[in-house]
Symmetry: C2
Subunit: 393 residues, 2 copies
DNA sequence: TCTCGTTTCTTCCGTGTTAGAACTAACCCA
DNA sequence: TGGGTTAGTTCTAACACGGAAGAAACGAGA
């Protein structure tokens, strides 16, 4: 187990790419001697390397930036829905190197674990140091699914099952928490200490980052953000809320409204395309949705006091079609004296979920680092019973 | 300046009252030897004392709980509005020992500072170790008022002015942040790491605590929580929002609605009394307000993922009159799978604001502790230019 | 070409914080 | 009176950290 400073160093190099010791001093609040001392074991173990970044024209001794050793490891991330697996292979920085989507043939935990193992193996990646699994529902300690409504699971020790099938450490997390962690480590959060995450797609998801930490409340698993009221005239969601976020923004609801207007079945992509092409019925629905999205963003940033938002999810195409409406709705519900909301759109659609899952595996791998062992052990370390993810109350 | 562990010890003893070293080990994550070592300088300096809590019947050596030395110091807290000062004298745990409200005769900063000094002196307390000032508006570094709309101030170095008048270290903070700090240190937050704070009164205030930290965003000074839309049919606030939190909940708005219905001027207290006595017009207005309050609580806990809320402010009487409506409205906007919202009502009305201000002074005094000086210096230490409150970006 | 200035990084070393082991203190109970 | 139990202390080794001074590696100018 690493000390706090060692963890901070590992995280900073992982997140901020090649970075010199001198820049790390200010970022970590440590002295130059400490950085020399802390970095050496990482270099000796082969986890970090020193780039010889030849001179950039400035005077003085040239910097020797530290970076993660190239090709150190791969990670896998799996988002599990009720009927499909979305599987990503990534490098240590959660950049996609492989991605596949495949249907899920059953819901019993052992079978799903086996399918995950097969899908991860089929990615064909070597040196997989960990697999992250993201799931809609409540997760305890990164190991156990407390409940997952889409899979009908209760208290399933799923990380164990995946580890047994795959022989690689597995990490479990709520899908929205995982996505927020990905944005915090490898997306927007590298520069901003707090923001909300809103996902649109089959459902509406919500997560929150404050003071550089993802809010790990049990609330996160329940999906409270999905039924925030946004319109008094909109359609009704499955739970009976008129004009709630799900009713206004879920792809199925938008497709159904446009289909009804056109009296023929249309899917979400077609609905967006029609709106983009100026079809009046589709435009009305999409404009209402965009206004609702803007209201949701404004409400959440106003109430969380975080002036930034990440929009993601497989239904994010809505934003491209109606960006102006979204921004106008945000501005309308935002005090002009407050700073404008910074909006970041993650265009990667569904793969963002799997990338979030991989981020969880990466974070757990960082916690597993042992500097007194050769580098291979990062990949072959037994999945300890002492995993700490989510263990803090 | 104290080390991190020393600060943690000071804070833990201050907040958790008489507390044994052994309990502190688990709370601070330190070993018994460390607690012996850390506590000794505080005892030697006379800041803490050892209670000899005689046996409670359990076996083993009896505990020697640590506590703050009784009568160590007093603090003053002042909430400044556009036309009044609310001045509290407290002990080291922000418990009121004196309270006074007086009109403000002018708005120029020097004059206000002089009136504050006079009011604090008139409390008649000895050993005042610091004065906290809470103000509606944005505050920088705990020293400067960036802007305060009710006072028409911009960039006023107000802490300096108060220190010059009073000869005691002064600490400045936004009023809602101060109130949230008070709840975090001496109220609800002692047991719960995250909650929202909603105040009702002349205006509607909002603050947020996550992971044991008050969110110190610049947003806090703007008052974004006050104009959250809560009803489509309610009255219009000064800024033109129909059914916003101010329009539904501010005491002036409620009084005006009831007055209009009765065609005679009534104040807020009378409006509440009429509603309590079953007057139909007043009941309608108050019930709508209670429903709006419940919606606001539900929205904020749902979007901050914090299942607890503190209600405070001088208009809090509304809750007592219509508690059932408030709770019903919360439940209606809350997913039944989520845990129920824990509601804490701070009944102390206006003095809660001044108590918040005193809390800021207490926190700053803890940061000023020097263990190598006799205890008197806590009270006579010069107000250093190196105050750190709010200095972190 | 040689020195000087500049910036980065390292070595050496003193300081201060921490916890493990063993111990003492202070009680209850039989 | 002596054993059991829990609280707290003393001693000490480990170690993380930063200050001071120095080394490394460059550009710039004489």
């Amino acid at each position: 187990m690493l000390s706090d400073s060692e963890s901070a160093l590992a995280r900073a190099v992982l997140i901020h790419g090649p970075i010199s010791r001198s820049e790390l001093t200010s970022r970590l609040g440590l002295s130059p001697p400490s950085l020399t001392r802390l970095a050496k074991p990482f270099l000796d173990a082969g986890l970090l390397v020193e780039l010889d970044d030849r001179t950039d024209g400035s005077v003085g001794r040239p910097v020797r930036p530290l970076d993660v050793r190239p090709g150190l490891a791969h990670f896998a991330g799996v988002k599990v829905t009720g009927d499909s697996l979305h599987v990503a292979g990534t490098d240590v920085r959660a950049r996609l190197v492989a991605y596949e989507e495949r249907p899920l043939h059953g819901r019993d935990p052992a079978g799903v674990a086996a399918e995950i193992a097969r899908a991860v193996r089929d990615l064909g990646l070597d040196r997989i140091a960990g697999v992250g699994v993201a799931i809609g529902g409540a997760v305890r300690d990164g190991r156990v699914v407390e409940f997952a409504p889409f899979l009908d699971w209760t208290d399933v020790p799923f990380a164990e099952l995946v580890e047994a099938e795959l022989g690689v450490p597995a990490s479990l997390e709520n899908d929205l928490v995982a996505l927020a962690e990905a944005e915090l480590w490898f997306g927007l959060g590298r520069d901003i200490p707090g923001f909300v995450v809103i996902t649109i797609g089959a459902g509406i998801g919500y997560a929150l980052v404050v003071n550089g930490q993802v809010v790990h409340s049990r609330e996160a698993g329940v999906g409270l953000g999905g039924h925030i009221p946004l319109s008094t005239t909109g359609p009704v969601c499955h739970s009976g809320h008129r004009g709630c976020a799900e009713a206004m923004l879920a792809s199925g609801s938008i497709a159904a409204q446009v289909s009804a207007a056109h009296r023929r079945p249309l899917d979400y992509a077609e609905a967006l395309r029609l709106a983009h092409d100026g079809d009046p019925a589709a435009s009305t629905v999409v404009d209402e949705a965009a206004t609702a999205l803007g209201r949701l963003v404004a409400l959440s940033v106003n109430l969380t006091l975080q002036p930034a938002a990440v929009l993601a999810g497989e239904g994010i195409g809505l934003f491209a079609v109606a960006e102006a409406r979204v921004r106008a709705a945000i501005a309308a519900d935002r005090d002009p004296r407050a700073e404008p909301v910074r909006l970041y759109v993650d265009e990667s659609g569904f793969s963002a979920w799997a990338r979030g899952a991989a981020t969880i595996a990466i974070q757990d791998a960082v916690e597993r680092i042992r500097l007194d062992q050769p580098v291979q052990d990062l990949m072959t370390a037994p999945a300890g019973s002492g995993e700490t993810r989510g263990a803090t109350p």
